[in-house]
Symmetry: C2
Subunit: 785 residues, 2 copies
């Protein structure tokens, strides 16, 4: 946990006023800068001390063996693991004889600040050396949104009370020693010194390193150059060796004088391109960045973010902590996806090595909706990545003896990297999730070209998968999907998981409709009328179990017959349950790790009445322990829909603060992108009641007591909207774009740029507050003091 | 596969007339000698060539790491693996300058013969050296049933046509190089050179080696001594080093002269005893064997086996191949269990390293019934072993958050060694299987002391397990056991597997009844009336699913709703399916690896009507692919019961020839004890229709056309019976013991030693022959040519 006073509560900044060494690894994640292509953890400039040094390039991985005590057919033999690439952000400082290290001497001041509007990480230090010399140091770090290959640092030192000799060593370091990441010594061995040098070079204030990975054979390069301003007599030398390039800047400074260094860093990698090609590529990027200059990069960054916030900002009155958290969330979601461009958005973005850097279904279900409504091109790119790995997914389906495409449960570049199939490969819903995101993107953007070029094939191949995974029961004629795993990881290999079946139904229908819209392309992809008719038939006959006795939708066909987990005798320290109980016991009991049926009610709200939603929501509330970060946001959305606004507000608090307060005790290995995106969903789909269905946009806004006003912006079909909500009414603004008809609480409203449209919010009669398992209630946020 | 002409068909011998180098590894398994404590694979005396050198001591293991790509709570971190211990059977021969090796020179004659009545492996050789000297060599090898620590070899050489110089090197060799057993290099590393020397010694014709295992820390010793007869001038020298003791016997032989060496070998091991204690123990055993002498050991062996066959022999007229196979089977079952004495009976006995030397449920369900009726003390010992590891099973239950005892799915000394829980730890039926064997043993022997000392606690702790694994459903009040794995390994983690539930029901009832019989001991074990009443209640309300529409008992609650496996498109080379299809697909389809519901109908025949049995049998026949060796025998038993006698006969052929014909292509790593025992079950429980229920013995004999006469012996409650069956009648002989009432086809019969009792066999109307999946029909045996 992070103490909630670690960061000051501000509108547009995350500020740590004093350095907390105990939470260094956590703040490194929180202060990560990234553009979706390069990720730099918020390590201190001087490298030491550190929690976990981290520099990542999207999709740059090494292979590690996946061992099995007892193997099986088609178990993956190796897994792709993100690696810490060459560290370009290192700037060491020597003041007279003393290396600058916050653990020695006297730290008079140390402040770090992530600036969400300017897109930089600032640091200012006031330090007295053990030999009693005092200096001020400041650094401003950025990873450019506009120049994808570029990071830059402006580093300044000035003496306070007496002249000092300063040595600044600005470095590129490959194969940094890392704290051990795994108990398995072989995994460590595979990832230790994963990089092999191909070229190293230093000249004056510049240098470069080119390496390749030993097993996966990927090639990466990093180059740096510096713009140095210092008093006369400041000298620069440089040297290189296979794993280190060092530029040393030496000067004598008197009080009032300042050494200012701008470090430009360019990264590039490829699985195909030659060493000389990578070499030239990064030199070119560096040259462009130098030409733009530090001030130019700052200005571009600000303009890029101004544009983003104009479409994405959320304003909350009544809760400054959540106000800060939602902007932090939106900033990091942007950082994860902005410039990924045909590469995945991993579960932790590029903020840490958690989950091996893999992308899962959470990208499509939690992250992409935010991007679709705020920076839709980035969402399209993420789906293009799925299209790029489609051939690999077809191979996977074939290996599993299925038709169509079976997307990997976890991967970096397309290969299935799941080493435990019941909670990995068996979670076939990921295919419907991808199709869902495709459909969502097309509806929310109207991008019909994307549908034809990218979406159609994804829809077709996933529909084919469902037709081979499920079957029509010979007597009931229901379409069954047996023995697969839904979102809830405390159940596995279940029959007719409702989430899976409803999402598959949606997938099949969308595929059939898309085929109708693009008959020629569909024909080229081998779809005939008969096949599309089969999809419609499967969708029509899809088995959706229902328990008449309890009037509840079971999570899967057997779930409600299972024994309810013994929550009373489960001790607080036994959560998360998976660390204290065997899977076999979790799977055979009524206990839910994360929203499953409740998520189905959000995404397929059309399949339930409001009464069913309320009953189901209450039923699953008492079983859901939220041992996953993918739950609170969905519970917030559905709590809001069924009128449990205070409960929704509590869940929003949990989703929004997962990382800033380290609620899951693992933020050190990276941020939870889905929960960050989920905070937006909790607000916009929860309190805003936003849904996209049948190509149209609707809202059913309602606020909890604590919030006086909510306002949010979003994009829809090329328009920019601004929605303001108070306790009693909602006002809709069309900021730009053609007139549009939307829904407010079921009522159609025509919007145009000429006038705003204000509507009152109807009352809702909600039942009593649903209960949660003992000790697993969310922290009460809604209670005003 | 082994060509069916490899062995001659004889009544009491397995004879290989010519050495087949291609099947060396297979015949090494088949020619294994063992007494349940020591196992010597049938390696050639001279060590080379070999398929797989093998010398095993029951329960002597090393630990190897069990790795996981993704770990989980309570996954075992290491597994116990049987290791090849010091080889004491090695006798090398030099003829003039030429080492005797069957691959060089000219092999004029090479015959090997396993003698099932004398309990020895004979070998006779006629060999011409590359330098054209011809010798006759013979060896007779035994592992003594009467002196548990002792093996012995009588080795003779004589020149045929010219004088030769002979050097015989008789050795003890530790840490023999083995062919690689695993793809995982770490496993190999752990098991390579597993033995560390503590003592080595050689003096005159004797020697000794004492070693311990590096990780598991077990200590073993082996000592040898020789009795040598040769022409004057024959000399003996010896030497020792940490891993080798060598006694060299050198002599010059003229035609007509002979060198005869009797090698006595004594083995001992302990996890507790000191080096000197082991030293003395094996020296003492060796001294006793020397005193008995070779002829004495032979005589004891014959007497022991005569006694065994008097209680165990099966005579079959009309099928000499099966006649031979059933005696081979009975001999190996005896070898696996005879002197295990508080140690397990592994799935492969001590015939090879297959399944890591682990014991599974097959011991209790397939092997013990044979031992109970032929050498009941050995059966009691095997169950005492379960009692010895009860504390470990209690710990396992606790770790799994269950009550009572959870016996390991696979183990050598009690620790769970299963590295894939859905087909391991989740197969809780093993606990009911142990209870079943306890109940069977008590009923078939009347050994009430055993029940009090050993059986009661086993029954109680397993009953407790079931009460914590299952629960009374709140509305239906049925007792459900969800999410466990039954015998069929192509299903897993299923709800209310009928086999499991019926066996648990039996377990609970037996425990409750045993508690009534032994109230004081039960009280000491903490059982009160309330607990026993709970057991009865759970048994009474046990959910046994039934499909009214098809009038079939489903294997588990969901099984019959699943899609039937696409047998039509499954190619012959795709069997066994588990090597060609993912588990997830096997688990979610109607396809059966091995008898599951059909086994339930055998063991819990009281729970089904004959009509139900016939319908169920036919239903599962069309789904069962027999990718396991634990299936054909049970299918034979139930086919016979429902009157499908020709089909039963075909299955008997398969069960009986699994090893002699290597039908599963893996006999090189050891014999299939359960299938060998299953051949006896197919005959005695199948064509003999023998059942033990409610403390009494019944028969419903019926023969297939091909068999003219079947006769078998067995023990029951201290009596020895002899049963003869022809096509039309059955004759019951009580060979010794008090009068006894048995059943013949439902009719009570009083037997006494005074007179035999002959009864006609009623006709049965069986339906048409059930069909099997395409290409998986058993080989037709019943068709007379």
């Amino acid at each position: 946990m992070i103490n909630d006073s670690l960061f000051t509560v501000e509108e547009w900044n995350i500020r740590e006023k004093e350095l907390s060494l105990d939470t260094l690894a956590q703040t490194e994640s929180i202060f990560t800068l990234s553009n979706g292509h390069i990720g730099l953890r918020g390590n201190l400039d001087e490298g030491d001390p550190h929690g976990l040094p981290g520099t990542y390039l999207n999709s740059f991985y090494e292979l590690r063996p996946l061992p099995y005590a007892e193997g099986g057919y088609a178990y993956p033999e190796s897994g792709q693991t993100v690696i810490n690439v060459t560290n370009g952000k290192l700037i060491r400082l020597l003041v007279d004889d003393e290396p600058f290290d916050v653990r020695y001497g006297k730290l008079l001041e140390h402040e770090r600040e992530l600036d969400l509007r300017n897109g930089v990480l600032r640091r200012s230090i006031h330090w007295t050396t053990p030999a009693a010399r005092t200096v001020k140091i400041s650094s401003v770090r950025m990873v450019s949104f506009t120049q994808r290959a570029i990071a830059a640092i402006c580093y300044e030192v000035e003496p306070v009370d007496a002249p000092v000799r300063i040595v600044v060593q600005s470095e590129l370091v490959a194969n940094e020693a890392l704290p051990p990441q795994s108990k398995d010594p072989r995994v460590g061995a595979a990832l230790e010194s994963a990089l092999e040098c191909e070229e190293h070079q230093a000249r004056e204030a510049s240098g470069m390193l080119i390496h390749h990975t030993r097993v996966s054979g990927l090639r990466m390069g990093v180059a740096m150059d510096h713009h140095i301003e210092g008093p006369p007599g400041t000298t620069v030398t440089s040297e290189s060796s296979p794993d280190v390039v060092r530029v040393s800047i030496i000067g004598r400074l008197k009080p009032g004088e300042r050494l200012r260094i701008v470090k430009f860093i360019a990264y590039g990698w490829s699985s195909l391109r030659s060493r000389p090609a990578i070499h030239d590529q990064i030199i070119a990027a560096l040259a462009a960045a130098r030409q733009t200059g530090w001030e130019g990069l700052l200005a571009e960054q600000r303009a890029y973010l101004d544009d983003y916030w104009a479409s994405a900002d959320v304003e909350l009155e009544g809760d400054p902590q959540i106000q800060q958290a939602i902007r932090f969330s939106l900033f990091h979601v942007l950082q994860a996806g902005a410039r990924a461009e045909g590469r995945p958005i991993p579960a932790k973005g590029l903020t840490g090595p958690g989950y091996d850097g893999h992308a899962f279904w959470d990208t499509e279900i939690f992250v992409l909706p935010v991007l679709i409504h705020t920076i839709p091109d980035a969402a399209a790119d993420a789906l293009r990545w799925r299209h790029l790995i489609l051939d690999r997914a077809r191979e996977q389906a074939q290996q599993l003896r299925l038709r169509g495409a079976a997307f990997p449960w976890r991967t970096i570049r397309g290969a299935e990297c799941s080493g435990y199939w019941p909670a990995g490969t068996a979670a076939f819903h990921i295919n419907a999730d991808i199709a869902y995101a495709v459909a969502y993107y097309i509806q929310a953007t109207g991008d019909i070209d994307f549908e034809e070029e990218v979406g159609l094939e994804l829809l077709i191949e996933t529909a084919r998968l469902w037709c081979s995974l499920g079957y029509h029961h010979p007597t009931s004629n229901q379409f069954r999907i047996d023995g697969v795993t839904g979102p809830d990881e405390y159940s596995a290999i279940a029959d007719n998981n409702v989430y899976t079946n409803l999402m598959a139904q949606h997938n099949l229908r969308w595929a059939a409709n898309a085929v109708q819209r693009h008959p020629e392309k569909a024909c080229a992809l081998g779809v005939d009328e008969h096949e599309a008719a089969n999809w419609r038939m499967a969708a029509k006959n899809m088995l959706i179990p229902y328990n008449e006795q309890l009037e509840v939708t079971p999570q899967d066909e057997s779930f409600i017959d299972y024994q309810v987990w013994d929550f009373t005798h489960t001790l607080p320290h036994q959560y998360p349950l998976l660390l204290h109980f065997p899977y076999f016991d979790l799977y055979r009991k009524q206990v839910v790790k994360q929203a499953d049926l409740v998520l189905a009610m959000h995404l397929r709200g059309d399949a339930f009445t409001l009464e069913q939603k309320a009953r189901n929501f209450a039923y699953y509330e008492q079983l859901t322990v939220r041992d996953s970060s993918l739950s609170a946001c969905t519970q917030a959305v559905m709590a809001a829909e069924v009128g449990q606004l205070e409960l929704a507000y509590d869940y929003l608090g949990e989703a929004a603060l997962v990382d800033l307060h380290d609620l899951h005790h693992n933020v050190q290995s990276g941020l939870h992108m889905a929960s960050l995106a989920g905070a937006w969903l909790a607000i916009v789909a929860g309190f805003g009641g936003m849904r996209v269905q049948d190509n149209s946009l609707s809202f059913s806004p309602r606020l909890p007591d604590a919030l006086e006003r909510l306002a949010f912006r979003l994009l829809f079909q090329g328009r920019r909207l601004y929605i303001e909500v108070t306790a009693t009414e909602a006002t809709y603004h069309l900021l730009d774009g053609l007139p549009l008809t939307i829904c407010h609480h079921g009522q159609e409203i025509a919007l145009s740029m000429d006038e705003t449209s204000t509507h009152s919010i109807p009352q809702i009669q909600a039942g009593s507050r649903p209960s949660q398992p003992e000790g697993r209630e969310p922290v009460r946020r809604g209670v005003r003091v």
